[in-house]
Every structure is written in C-alpha cells, then in structure tokens.
C-alpha cells in the first residue's frame, strides 16, 4: 500500500508521518503541494506544521494548493485522508470536515503527552482500535481549539463523527473535549494530537499512534480483497473492529 504525505511550504512533520507509514508497513510517497498528481497513492496524510506560515489563518492558504484540489475530489470519492494538526486545520478549511480550529483557550502553544479516548472505530484510520480505547500520544499546537455550533456538535455526536476526545486535562479548550472528527463516510479524519510521534518507545511516549496507520492498511487490505482478479471472494463484514494487542 502507498501512503502519500504532502509537503506544503512550512510543513514540518512530513518526515515523521512518512516514517510512521513505513513503520506500519506501507510505502510512503512524498507529494508536493504544487503538483496536483497523487502518483497512485492509496491514502493521503496531511502532516503537521505551519503551511504557508499560517498566514491569514491556519490552513486557509493550503486548501488552495494544486494538490488539494485533487485530494478534495479523491476524498469525496472515498480516498482515505488523515489530517494531523495543521492537516486537520486544512481539512476544515477545505470543508472536508465540519467545524473549525481556533487559538488555544490559554493562548499558549502547548506540547505534552496527552491521553485521548478513541470513540469511533468506523473510520479508515481507527478500525485497528477498540471502541473507547484510551491511548497516549503527544499534543502540540497553538491553534487546536475545536469549535462548532451546538447544533453541529449535537449532530456530530448523534452521527458518531467524533473520533476521539481528550481525557483528563483538555489541552486547548476544545468544545466537548473533541480531539478528532471524521466525515460522514469515515474515510476522512482530522486529529489535533500527533499519532506519528508515538510509533516507538525510543522517541515517543507510546506506540499507540501506529494504530492509525495500521488501520488504513487494514482498510486497504479489506477493500482490495474483491479486486477483479480474485473473483468469488466475499468481502468481510463492514467495519468489524479488530482487537488490538495490548
């Protein structure tokens, strides 16, 4: 499986996201903001950083990058897309995800190891977790405060579109402790904390972040089964959550 990682001017965690994809067993393909071609990738990660210097508004300029036009179309056709931190901001600006991300309530950039609870495993990026599983991954952002209208938030909760919430201390003031959301189809996920920084115990607080990347590999494998050259194979039951080894 090929996972594309986009580099915008000012992307910073692109190398880390590519490494996480490799650790999970995928081939990482680097994509360039000015090149609309997705080079045959099977999923895309929009990494953290400060694309275009966060000028105007975080993610507001990146959404107009040539590569984003292609990604937006492909995402609407079901391509798995994960936006991490700045990538989450870009997905909101591109209207691929609902809501918006604003300045942290306490106005400080904050980097710490954060507990979050996975609430929804019906996505391309979280099927390898169990429902209500608690994990620890780093959070680091200055503008990670998720906001939306009460109606929107009610609807997200009703539709199971809240993928993860902060547990314990809310690091940025996000409404209803929201750390990650998905689109209706479940192929597009935005998450504020950084799974790509929790892929081995040498450099991260846990290996919990790998689950996001192994999830998309499994989603890909599941989707690949009914390929034309393997007729007669019955696709597996939809979105059966897989157990994760402790």
């Amino acid at each position: 499986m090929k996972i594309g990682v986009v580099t915008f001017p000012g992307s910073l965690d692109d190398g880390d996201a590519a490494r996480a994809a490799r650790y999970a067993g995928a081939e990482a393909v680097r994509l360039w903001h000015a090149d609309p071609d997705l080079h045959g990738v099977d999923a895309v990660v929009l990494p953290g950083g400060f694309s275009y210097g966060d000028y105007l508004r975080c993610g507001a300029i990146a959404r107009f990058a040539p590569v984003m036009e292609t990604i937006t179309k492909a995402a609407n056709d079901g391509l798995p897309v994960l936006g991490i931190c700045n990538g989450f901001q870009i997905l909101c600006e591109a209207h691929l995800l609902p809501g918006a991300l604003t300045r942290n309530q306490h106005l400080h950039f904050r980097n710490r190891d954060q507990r979050i609870q996975i609430e929804n495993t019906q996505t391309a990026w979280t099927r390898d977790f169990t429902g209500s599983q608690e994990i620890v991954i780093p959070v680091k952002n200055g503008e990670g405060c998720y906001v939306g209208s009460p109606e929107l938030l009610d609807q997200l909760e009703a539709d199971g579109q809240i993928v993860a919430r902060y547990v314990g201390e809310n690091p940025n003031g996000s409404m209803r402790d929201i750390a990650a959301v998905r689109n209706e189809a479940g192929n597009v996920v935005g998450i504020m904390p950084h799974p790509e920084h929790a892929i081995d115990l040498l450099t991260g607080p846990s290996t919990d972040g790998l689950g996001f990347f192994t999830s998309v590999l499994k989603a890909y494998a599941a989707a690949s089964v009914p390929a034309p050259y393997q007729p007669g194979v019955v696709p597996p039951a939809e979105d059966a959550p897989e157990e994760v080894e402790a």
Binding site: L12, D13, F50, Y55, T102, Q105, P138
Partner: protein, 777 residues
C-alpha cells in the same frame, strides 16, 4: 565631479569635503578608532563606510576586548582528530564518524530580548540556526539557556512570557525540536536578562561549506527576505553598550523575525549544497550585509563590485548606509559560478524564496595582494575599502583587569556557617520549600511551549540531564548536548565557576551514556570597560581553557556578550558552557527517572560539606558568599567513564546528575519523573544533628544518583571500585505512587512533593490549563 544634490554621501564627495564633521561617537566609535579609519582610507570615510566600520569594529563583531583572552582556547586546545572546523568559522564542526559531522554553537541575544522580548528571543533562535546552516548542515535541534531577574518581580512577568513565546514561536515554526536549556532567576539579571540560544546541525563530513568568496567573476547572490529598516545598529548601538534610561527607545534596533521564510531558506540552501551549486555561503546576522560582504571577500583575499540598489528593499526610501547596516533577518549571501546561476535561481524559485544577483567577485588590483570592496548606489561609488581592514584590522584592547574589591570579604562569608535544619520535620519542610523555589521547580510551564517531538529523533529532552538526538535510525548513533552555567559560583570565583559549568555539562552528557567530545560557550558579562568585570572575564576564560585541556575536549567556537549591565550594576559573570557527546547507540540511553521498584539506589562520588553559593543558601538565607564547591575534573572523567561502561553493559537503569539543590533535588526529580517512590537510608556518618541536611543539600560536584537493577550490584560495585569512584548505597526504588522516604527523617508522598514542585511557575505566570472550555453559544 559629484552632483551636490545627491542625498547620500559618495567617495567623490568624501574626497572633496575632508573636513566634514562625522557622527562617529554616536555610532559607538572612539576618536582614535575614527582616525585609524581615515588613515586606512587616506580620506574621510563616506557615511556608508563609517557605518560599516562602526559595526564591524564594535565589541560584538570585533571581539576587541576579548580577543587577547580567547586565544587561550586555541593555545591550550587539547589534541582532537574530530575537529573539522573551529574558532573563527560560523560554528565549529566535529566529525562523528568518517561520514557524518555535527556542528553546534551557542549565541546570545540578550539586549534585544530585554527591549522587545518576543522578537528578540525569536531572532536569537533564527540567527544561530543560520550560522549552523551556513556550515552546510541541516539544523536538527535547538536549546535555550535563559536568565531572568527575580521570579516575582513585575518586569520578569513582562520579559519571561515574551521570551519563551519567542523562542517557541520561531523554533516550533522551523520544525526544530527544543531539547533542553535552562531557566534561572536571579536579581542580578533584573535589568538585563540573558537569552542564549544553541543550535546543532548534521552534515555529511564531505559537504562542509566555505564562506570564501573565491573566483573573480563569480556572482554574489543575496537570497531570502527583503531588506528593511529593522535592526539597524543592532550590534553597535544595542549589543555593545550598557543599558541606561531610555533603552526602550532602542526598540527599532531590534530585528523582526519571520520563521516561515527561514524554513524556506533552510530547504533551499540544503538543496543548493546537495546539488553542489555554490562556491561559498555566509549567513547575514549581526552587521547584516556589511559583515557578509567583508568576511566572504576578506577570507578569500578577493574584492567585490556590488550594485547595492539591486538589493530588494522592504522600504524603497532606504539610503545606502541603511541597506548596508540593516539586520533584517532570514537572508544568506551566496557565491555562485556564472554557469550555475540559473540553477541556483531555479531552486530559490521552487521554494518561493527571493534570490537576487547583486554583484561580482573581483581580483586584486594590479600590484595589490588583496581585493577591494567597491559598492555603488545607482552608479555612484559609496564604498571603496579593503575588506580585510573591517574584518581583521579592528582595534584590539588589552583592557585593565582588577579583582573586584569586595571579593575577599565575599569569599570569607561562608554559607557553611549558616543555621541549618536539624530535625526530620525541619528537613521535610526544607525539601518542600526548595523544590518549589523558582530555580528548582518544575519548568513545564516553559518547556511545554516548545515542540520536542518534531523530526522524530528526540530520544531525551528536558527535564532530562541532556538532550539526546538520534542521527542514524539503523545504527542508533546519536549525540547528546547539555548547556550549563552557575553564575553564583562564577561570582564567588570566576575561574572555578567556568570550570564548574564545564564539569556539570560534561557530567550531564556523560550520565546519558554518551562520550563527551567538544565544547561551545557563551560568555555573558558586564562592561569590559570596568576592570573588575574584565578580571572576571579573563579568569573565566582561563578556567574554561584549562578545564577543557584537562578533560581533553576542545572549544570549537562560541560567543562573547559584554555590556550586560544597566547603569553601574553588572550581571553576575555568566559563562554558559555547552558540551556535545557522541552516543554509539541511543537505544542504550540512560534516563533520569526511577522506573522499576526494587532497583538499588546509589550515589556515586564524594559528598563534602559544601554549601557556599548553593541554591539552599540563596533560597533560605538570601546568602551568597564563601567559595564554590571544589572542582575535580579528573573525578568527572572517571565518573563519566564509569557510567558509560555501566550503561553499555546494562548495569544501570537510570542516572541523574547531582547539581543545584544537591541530593535532595536529584532524588525528588528522579522520583517525580515517572512517579516512583524511593526509600533512602542515610549513611551512618551523615545521620546525626545537621549532617542529614548537609548530605541532602551539599552541592559537591562529580556526583550522580543511579539505580541498579537487582543482581547487578556486584558487577557495578566492582566497576566503580576499579575507577576509584566512591560509591554509597542509599536504598531502593519504591513502588509507583509511593513516597520518598528518608529513614529516621521524613516521608513525603509524591503527590505532595509534585504539588509543591509544579505549582510555582503557573502561579507566577498564569495557568496554561484550559480550565474553561470554549463556551457554546
């Protein structure tokens, strides 16, 4: 010959008007220095030339007061086959393997950070990153030793949040992990905080870049941000003068940073290096274009013809001397062969960075040994100088030295005679007050504003003893760096103080299991015109040079910051020393936090009754006097070697350096790091009267707290005995969430300890807990 209507000064006009009065004193030049410039040029300097000499001959650029002392770092340099570039380059370069080299350096940005905390600190980070970039390296991490006035002083509440946000804002945006540093409070920094910044970078050993502007006919290209009026006179007016009233009016001398442009500049430069497209490169920092043009040409012995009006300007109304003096950030000077110019401009365009040819390298005139730097502005010659005269012929002063008058009295007033706690209850209360004191408390309020994870190679970062970065994912090769300085020790004895800073940084690197190999330093002092300050400086340099020789690790570069004083009050002398070590396999790193109940706890090294200059004396008695702890560099070397060996053989699980706050602080930190308790028995000779207190709070050097997995104690003891390292069994690591117990004295539940330790900075500078989730409409 020159039209008199010109609104700028030209060489022709200077020749025609030799008697014109010039504002050299306002620019920071002495009368004899001005005469020397006239002598070099054979005429009065033009306004642009005067600006150039004033900044290049400033203390900050010319090291005119420190040069005579700094040469000891070269004279006493221990033999090292690792040094690829040393003092005099933008940053020292150290070979790690035959293929990989590392470059690192620490610099000050003190005065700008006081005048404008956010931008001052931000551009301090930006400046040191460009130094590292100019050597051909990819920057991989930053660190920041900071000094502020009293923690509860109202002005500290203005300066500290801005500085921290600036360090974070710039470094985070560049995608560089911040892996360590220091936050220290002392009233001596009240009017003059210190903001030092270190950057470390990695490069292929054969890709070292040069600054020489070789090859007449080659093109001089300015790459990066447009030039504006910011930072004019930064090095001369701001960095090379004592603060006084009205210093806030110097805000226009502070540069304004744009980390996004710097990020693009880094990527463009690395692509240029990889494609072998440039002859030379130099960053633009202090003294801006003036410094870059003169240093690149002077080092090659060439000249340049520069058409200054080609420099892209943010302010079209700027005059030539302003363009030359501007310290606008995020700019690099490239020397490019004409055939490769288009490729260079193409790479800049790919990253959206401006790159503009502004002139050519020239050969020396017939009969001359070195070239001339000639600069025109819309066709009129405004500068015609021998570039070497700005770089190498600046004044050198052997300033008078005099031991401070109060030093003998200060040294006689020993802290060892102060009243000490003698009961378990007193000791318990003392531990709680000490861990809550501003210098010993939890610094998460600061460090959580820095990204430590980006790039995915951070193995250890603050509050660990040293930052540890992985260089090679396959072999586990890495580097460890620590920066340390204790200005109270340096005030009591600058020679010993510099060596104690060196010893601590060395020890901090060694306890992670790394092998220390090189040194950088940032020497922060008051006014060199004060003989007492100059004596402190001379002693500190002598101490550091002697210490490096004894430890066998060379000084590879550094920075001097003078004039750190407001009015007559100088800061405590503050030599900050950085040590870099090589870790052969970072998977074998030794962290500081207890992590397994039942591990055996030892203290290595000898504890003496040494409380003078200690954190305890300052916090509990506001006392500073006596002489600092004894320096034993041979002992440090043995200790470092023992820990490295023990780590390699898997004999220790954790190790933590003992320094400020002594054993009590080290125990508290090792317990709190992962939340494990410890049960400690005091050795019999330290169990009566005030002896338990001395054992817990003495700041004797050459010591470390280690945890040994059960079963390894025999091998570990033998290893220490072989190296004649005193070893004292203290007790065992207790369960997760248990207490820190000192038998017969006190027991402290970790929750109570953590509460005391972590509440201090949020109480002073505001909570960063998002207690109020955004209200829904």
């Amino acid at each position: 010959m020159t039209s008199v209507e010109l609104d700028f000064d030209t060489v022709g006009h200077a020749v025609a008007t030799p008697a014109e009065e010039q504002p050299y004193a306002e620019l920071g030049l002495q009368a004899d220095e001005y005469q020397r410039i006239r002598q070099i040029l054979g005429r009065r300097p033009t306004q642009s030339e005067l600006a150039m000499y004033s900044i290049m001959w400033s203390e900050h650029c010319s090291y005119k007061s420190s040069k005579v002392h700094l040469k000891q770092f070269v004279e006493k340099k221990p033999a090292s086959d690792r040094m690829l570039a040393g003092i005099g380059e933008n940053a020292g370069v150290i070979a790690i393997t035959d293929q990989i080299a590392v470059t690192f350096k620490v610099e000050s940005h003190n005065h700008p950070s006081y005048v404008e905390p956010y931008q001052g600190a931000a551009t301090g980070v930006g400046g040191i990153v460009r130094d590292i970039l100019a050597m051909g390296a990819r920057p991989v991490a930053v660190m920041d030793p900071l000094r502020f006035g009293a923690a509860d002083h109202p002005d500290t509440a203005r300066v500290l949040p801005g500085v921290v946000a600036g360090v974070g804002g710039y470094g985070n945006c560049l995608g560089l992990p911040n892996i360590g540093g220091e936050v220290v409070f002392d009233p001596s920094y009240q009017g003059n905080p210190l903001v030092n910044a270190l950057c470390v970078g990695v490069l292929p050993a054969d890709r070292l870049q040069r600054k020489e502007a070789d090859g007449p006919g080659n093109i001089v290209v300015l790459m990066g941000a447009k030039t504006g009026r910011d930072g004019i006179g930064g090095v001369s007016v701001l960095a090379s003068a004592t603060f006084d009233e009205g210093s806030e009016q110097r805000r226009p001398s502070v540069q304004v940073g744009d980390p996004f442009t710097e990020k693009l500049l880094i990527e463009s430069c690395l692509e240029l290096y990889n494609s072998d497209l440039i002859v030379g490169v130099q960053d633009l920092g202090g003294a801006g274009l003036t410094c870059a043009l003169t240093e690149t040409s002077a080092s090659a012995g060439t000249g340049m013809d520069i058409q200054l009006e080609k420099v892209p300007l943010r302010e079209p109304s700027m005059t030539p001397h302003e363009v030359l003096a501007s310290e606008s950030q995020e700019r690099m000077l490239l020397i490019v062969e004409p055939a490769k110019l288009n490729a260079v401009l193409g790479i800049a365009q790919l990253w959206g960075v401006l790159a503009t040819p502004i002139g050519v390298v020239t050969a020396p005139d017939a009969g001359e040994s070195a070239g001339r730097l000639r600069i025109t502005w819309h066709g009129e010659t405004v500068v015609d100088v021998p570039p070497g005269s700005l770089v190498d012929d600046g004044p050198v002063y052997a300033r008078p030295l005099k031991e401070p008058n109060d030093l003998p009295l200060l040294q006689a007033d020993r802290a060892e005679t102060l009243p000490k706690p003698t009961t378990g209850d007193d000791l318990r209360a003392t531990v709680l007050r000490m861990v809550a004191s501003p210098n010993l408390c939890d610094k998460s309020w600061v460090t959580e504003q820095y990204d430590r994870y980006v790039l995915g190679n951070t193995v250890l970062a603050q509050p660990e003893d040293a930052g540890l970065i992985r260089l090679d994912e396959n072999s586990g090769l890495g580097i460890a760096i620590s920066l340390d300085g204790n200005s109270r020790y340096a005030r009591l004895d600058p020679y010993a103080g510099a060596q104690l800073a060196l010893a601590e940084a060395y020890r901090n690197v060694a306890v992670t299991g790394a092998d220390p190999v090189a040194v950088t330093n940032c020497l922060n002092f008051g006014s060199p015109e004060d003989p007492a300050v100059m004596w402190q400086f001379a002693e500190a340099v002598r101490g550091l040079a002697d210490g490096c020789l004894e430890l066998g690790i060379p000084v590879t570069g550094g920075n001097v910051s003078f004039y750190n004083q407001t009015g007559a009050a100088a800061i405590h002398p503050t030599p900050i020393v950085g040590v870099l070590g090589v870790h052969q396999d970072v998977t074998q790193r030794v962290p500081m936090g207890f992590s397994q109940a039942g591990d055996l706890v030892y203290v290595l090294g000898e504890t003496r009754n040494e409380l003078s200059g200690s954190e305890w004396a300052w916090v509990e008695h506001e006392h500073l006097g006596g002489t600092p702890p004894q320096v034993d560099l041979a002992g440090e070397r043995r200790l470092g070697d023992a820990i490295a060996q023990a780590a390699e053989r898997g004999l220790i699980r954790t190790a933590h350096d003992l320094s400020d706050g002594g054993l009590a602080q080290a125990l508290a930190e090792s317990c709190l790091r992962k939340g494990f308790g410890a049960t400690i028995e005091l050795p019999a000779e330290w169990s009566a009267g005030s002896q338990p207190f001395v054992f817990l709070f003495s700041e004797s050097t050459g010591r470390a707290l280690v945890a040994v997995p059960p079963g390894h104690e025999m091998a570990f003891t033998a290893l220490c005995e072989e190296r004649q390292i005193p070893l004292t069994r203290l007790g065992t690591v207790a369960d997760e969430g248990a207490e820190l117990t000192v038998s017969g004295q006190f027991a402290l539940p970790l929750d109570e300890l953590r509460e005391a330790w972590s509440a201090t900075l949020p109480k002073l500078f505001g909570s960063t807990i998002a207690s109020n989730v955004v209200q829904e409409d």
